[in-house]
Symmetry: C2
Subunit: 109 residues, 2 copies
DNA sequence: TTTCGTTATATTTGTAAAAGTATAACGAAA
DNA sequence: TTTCGTTATACTTTTACAAATATAACGAAA
């Protein structure tokens, strides 16, 4: 018997960050490209763009910085704020898993 | 900024219980009927039945007891085990919310 | 100045989940 | 024994969401 969870953070403007978006941000970090990140995640570029767009709209400051054009077409990088968000979210997520495992043990099901 | 979560419990046979199924079980408790519970939840009877069926298949012992036929057509009641599951789940869920609120405060976002 | 891969966006197509429709079996009470 | 609302199940239709397709703009480097 396993207890599972999904967490996310919202602002008044919508969902700021969630598990899937964290995964996408981390792939942007490692690839330097939203296009490549989407491919590695096996989702369409359009879906990836919408996710990032929604997060940016829900955020007071941008999570990513994009460059359109250039010798390699451009690219996308994660801002320092985006990186801090990744770090915080992952810490909270791990803590939540550990907390829930302990909670489940308290109850005999 | 709000942190939100969804939790659920799985066994090897699938999802045992989740937020939506808890809501459904509680409506079965109060109405004595899967049919009425589905209507109050604004989902189709077929969907409600599938949810309950999946939970029963994932459970070592039944969460509900059904009676087919009778002067009022029959009905469905929640077993003592089902009731204990509701109680445990809701306690864990509330504890999780409180935990996450505290966790979020630790991080300045 | 031409090239390239990227961002950004709109539109169409496909698909999986939900809803809707239909129907049989059931059995206590009137 | 007839009635009734329910459980249980199959099948069809609808809908929402994801994927696919298409296309323009961009700008550093060769």
């Amino acid at each position: 018997m396993k207890i599972k969870s999904k967490i996310w953070i919202e602002t008044d403007e919508g969902i700021l960050i969630s598990e899937g978006r964290i995964q996408l941000l981390k792939l942007i970090e490692s690839t330097g490209s939203l296009n490549k990140a989407a491919k590695e995640m096996n989702i369409s570029y359009q879906k990836a763009w919408k996710l990032i767009d929604a997060s940016n709209k829900a955020s007071a400051e941008p999570l990513i910085a994009t460059q359109v054009g250039g010798n390699k077409g451009g690219g996308t990088v994660v801002t320092p704020y985006g990186k801090s968000l990744i770090e915080s979210f992952e810490k909270i997520n791990v803590a939540c898993w550990e907390f829930l495992d302990l909670e489940l043990k308290k109850h005999s099901l």
